[in-house]
Symmetry: C2
Subunit: 255 residues, 2 copies
DNA sequence: AGGAGCGGCCCGGTGAGTGGAACGCTCCCG
DNA sequence: CGGGAGCGTTCCACTCACCGGGCCGCTCCT
């Protein structure tokens, strides 16, 4: 609803457009994009045209979607690259029948999953790099535990705490308490909060070179997977990943 | 060397900057970036500042590198996402001890590796999404075989055919002959051309929704891996991936 | 001490970018 | 079978955001 940046710089607007296409779950038409950004249609049209020229956006008929150029640029970003390199071998060792290992970072108020290793890595149904809510996943809570309170509190605003299952924690105070405990113990748990029938645990990895915080998690169905048994393994994994990724390792709060 | 676009659009320049950072294999200083793009230092400074604001670029001290925003955007790009989803399960089945399976697309005159599954996916040393030369890899040659001659020929310019080993094919005519044969047979081979001691085969997958061509390859050391034995398996794999990825499947030239 | 290189910043001039308005088109609905 | 609501597209005069030469202070080398 308007407001936002108010800085009509070409670049800012271009990224607004890209952001809309990123959040959309499919190609969009010109008018939708213009409406979603608040940028006049004529301007949107021209900017999108330029983005298409750069292959940052592709156009199929009258629909626009993100283009290969962005994928190529994204693949070249150093931080996640090093994190992946450091984490993949370790993740492979952790992964086992009936559980999935996820690597994620905190980005734009969500969990950005960077890598996923499943079933001894033999299967990997969905591609990695999807977004998940911070409050309803173990990975998210492990990430929240690594940020200072002034960053944390806005992320716990009630409007952000959408109930995804009847078990999702939607009370800011309760969530904050959990975060405090995660900080102390170095483990986050999740039970049916993101999807009924699944549980998970996650542990913080630390803060990468430029303030990006990372965490690693394991998840599975009840019965096939018992989170409390894996705490130690996962913590050791995180401790091995951190230095290799050039991260300032996370360590539990001592008070 | 100057020339290039000559259209001083903000967006064009921004992507030039990002391109330089993409090609660089580490963070760069302001002056280097300005020199590499030909954009005046003052302008480069301001543009980089704006990109940093968008988190498309990160700044550590006085060095600039690509930022998380680009990674996030890149992860949301539809084409490679669907390709990965379609290919991963199939790749997992192909992968075995002693051989690596690669999925790649043709992008900006190079092979852009999208996914890599190694050793039954248990190990995966380097992260995927690196660039490789078209002329010195089986994957690259399988991609070249899928483009029309008017696109192909510029890519075979002698200046592009750098010799990476003594066995790299650097003669445009010889390479063009190979491409013709690949078109007919639907398989590309590579022997010591990219790295001595390794061989590979690759087969075309087809053309995705917006003109992106894809291919799949297997590679390994001599002795541990015999390319000619896997031709059929790989062709079947490609045939299974194509429809799932929404691709127009490639089919051998019939003359 | 000097100077070569760096990143950072100022400020007047100007053309790239802007966006309201108008166009042709395809649909859908009365 | 009109008509009008939506779409993408184009035009063009205005104007303000962007430009970049020049300059500063700093840190390394020599």
């Amino acid at each position: 609803m308007a407001g936002s940046t108010d800085a009509p710089s070409v670049l800012g607007r271009a990224f607004e457009l890209l952001g809309v296409l990123e959040r959309a779950d499919g190609p969009m038409g010109l008018s939708d994009i213009a409406a979603a950004t608040g940028i006049p249609k004529a301007t949107t049209f021209r900017l999108l045209g330029q983005l298409v020229e750069q292959r940052a956006v592709v156009r199929k008929g009258e629909l626009y979607a993100l283009g290969m150029r962005l994928f190529a640029l994204g693949s070249a970003v150093g931080i996640p690259r090093r994190l992946q390199d450091a984490a993949l071998p370790v993740m492979g060792e952790l992964s086992d029948e009936g559980q999935v290992v996820h690597l994620g970072v905190l980005d734009a108020g969500t969990v950005l999953q960077i890598q996923r290793v499943a079933h001894g890595a033999r299967e990997s149904r969905s591609a990695p790099s999807t977004r998940r809510p911070l409050h309803a996943t173990a990975l998210g809570k492990a990430l929240l535990a690594q940020v200072p309170d002034e960053t944390l509190l806005p992320l716990l605003a009630p409007s952000r705490l959408e109930a995804l299952t009847p078990h999702t924690i939607t009370d800011p105070t309760r969530l904050h308490h959990q975060v405090v405990r995660i900080r102390q113990r170095g483990v986050a748990f999740e039970h049916d909060e993101w999807m009924v029938g699944y549980c998970a645990l996650a542990v913080p990895i630390g803060t990468l070179a430029d303030g990006v915080v990372a965490a690693i998690s394991m998840a599975g169905r009840y019965g096939r997977f018992d989170p409390s048994r894996s705490v130690h393994d996962l913590q050791r994994a995180a401790a091995r990943i951190a230095p290799r990724a050039g991260a300032q390792a996370w360590s539990p709060e001592v008070r």
